[in-house]
Each structure stands twice: as C-alpha cells, then as structure tokens.
Symmetry: C6
Subunit: 74 residues, 6 copies
C-alpha cells in the first residue's frame, strides 16, 4: 500500500491532516533514522520560530491538497 | 463537530480569520501542550522577525481560503 | 465597517497597498499591543534582512489581491 | 502618475524588472528614509543568504507578473 | 537521457519522489562536488530547522508536480 | 538580445535550467559586481542551509516556468 494513494479527501479537516503528513514525509525521507528525528523533537516543539516554520510548510502543502479537492466546494 | 467544516466564509474578513486559525492549528498539532505553547508566546509576540514569519504563514493560508471563496467576487 | 470589506481595488497600486495592509494585520492580530509593536519598529526598519522578509509577505499577499482583481487586465 | 499603472509588460524581461520594482517598493514603504536604506545596502549586497532571500521575493513577484501577462505566450 | 524527461507520474507517491528529486537537483547544480555535499549532510540531517526548510522546498516542488498531473484526479 | 526572450522551453530540463537562471539574475541585479559575488560563493556553496534556500528560490521560479509551458504536457 502506498503512503500516498490519493490527494482526495472527504473533508477539509482530513485534507489538513494529509498536508501535515506530506510535510513530515519529506523530513522522514531526508532523515530516515527514527531515533535521530525523535531526538530533535524538543528543539522544534519548544521553539516558537520553528513551529511557525512547520506551520508554513503545512500551509504550502494544504494549498496543494485544497486545490486537488476543488476546495471541497462541491 | 470538525474544527474545519468548510473553507467557505461569508466575507473576506471571516476568510482572513480562518487563515489565522489554519496557521495556528499546525502549531497546536505539532505542540499540543497548551502550557508549552503559552510559555513561548513572549518569544514571538515581542520579536519583529517572528511576527513577520507568522504573517507569512497567514498570507499563504489566506491565498488558499481566498481561492476557495473565488475571492468573494460574486 | 469591516477592515477588509473586499479584495477588489480600482488600480494595481491600490491593490499593492491592500497587500501591505493584509501583511500588517496578521502582526496586529498576533500582537495587539500598539506600544509593543511600536517598540519593535527600529528592529525591522533598520535591518535589511527583516525588510526583505516583510517584502516577501507583501509579495505573497499581492499575489492573492492581483488574482482577485484578475490582474486589473480588463 | 502611479508608480504601478499596470502589471502588463511588453516582454518577459520587462516583467522581471517590474518584479524587482515590486520587491523594492515594500521595503521603501516600510522604511521610507533613503539614507537609512542606503546605509543597509552593504549588509545585504555582501551577504549570500541576504541576496538569496532577495531573489526569493523577486521570484514570488515574478509569478504574479508572469500570470498577469499570460506568461507572454501570445 | 534527461534527468527530467517529464513532470508526469503514474501516482501521487511517484510525484512526491519527483518533487524531492527536483529539490535536490538545485543543490547539486549549485554545489556539484559530491564530497562537499556529503560533508554537509550531518549539518542538515540533524537539525530540525534545516529539515523543516528542506520540507518546504519539497512542498513547493510538489505543488508544481501535482498541478502538472492534474492532481492525479483522473 | 534579451537575457530573457521567452519563458517557453522545449523540455522540462531546459525549463529547470531557466529557473536557475531566473534565480541567479535577481542576485546579479542586486549585486552587479562579479568579484563580490564570486567572493561569496564559498559562503553558500558550503552551507547546507544556504543551498536549501537557493533550492527554494529555484522551486518558486520553476513553478512559473512550468506553468508558462503548460507543464510540457502537450
């Protein structure tokens, strides 16, 4: 099973969760070591600027997912 | 009730507020601890560069919301 | 009266000014204290990198406003 | 005469120059003091990262100008 | 054979992998020395902020690839 | 001869090269001194974060070029 079978989601909220998944996957593919990623968690989870940057990536991916779903208008 | 039932808003101003909500939700989902987020507030609320970055995220999300609403043209 | 009644402007220059307004509003909504924002002004107004970041936010918002106005082509 | 009468340009190169103008105008409107801006020039003109950030802003504005001109396809 | 014969991919997951390839190629073309790039790997693979920035670039390229593929809707 | 006669390219790879050219041109127009730019090269060519930022600018310009070419779908 693919980790990304489709960009289509039933609801905007599921689309937002997919945007978060897309944002994390690039990190995982660049640093595949689970322990290394876990060790970095306190660095960004307690830094306002780091969290803002994470939110920027999610916003960029959410644009893509929202467009794919025609903004769940229909 | 979903925190994000729709991207459609009645007015541009409501759309802007939704963009802010979208921007904050990624932070909340990455750092779910309310106290931890509260403790960081002075860090970004008193830093010009941090506030500019926050504004960039909002701008990115506002693009999505504005497109979803066909720019409230109709 | 809403601070953002519409994204439609008569001219590109007015659209650019609206993009600046949109960029500043996210800062204001995150740090509502006028004195606190005023105290930060020297920080970014005298930093080349801060000003570049401000310009990036304006550029992102100007994309939205320009699209809303069909690039003032008509 | 407006500094931005139109987003339409005859050629892609003129469109690129307009993107640079748009990028600089946000800086000028945030820091209107010519001397203050001039004093900052060595800061960014001799920093690789600052120049990359400037280029990012130009790229964002060039997207807008290129779309306005239908990518000069016709 | 071109390293980029097409932006069209069969699946969203392949599209995501292409976005990663596009993100790395700009680095490779700017710093063609394999050893130099390898030496930098610990710098970004162990920095939360660096990884977030990498993810932002992938998100931007994924927008392009997803649009090219009409979001794999068909 | 213009340095940017058109955004149309025959192939995606040529489009990517044009995106790199667009990214560098903003740097060149901001810092026209060849020697000054050359002196900065070690700064960014040996910094992972600098290279990621360069890649982000290329990604933004590649969006524009890919759209101009209708993603080379035809």
């Amino acid at each position: 099973m693919s980790w990304l079978p489709t960009l289509i989601t039933k609801t905007p909220e599921e689309g937002y969760d997919l945007a978060i998944k897309l944002s994390r996957m690039a990190v995982k593919k660049t640093q595949p070591d689970d322990a290394a990623r876990g060790a970095m968690r306190p660095d960004y989870a307690n830094s306002a600027d780091s969290l803002t940057q994470v939110s920027h990536v999610v916003a960029t991916n959410f644009q893509t997912v929202a467009q794919a779903n025609n903004f769940w208008r229909d």
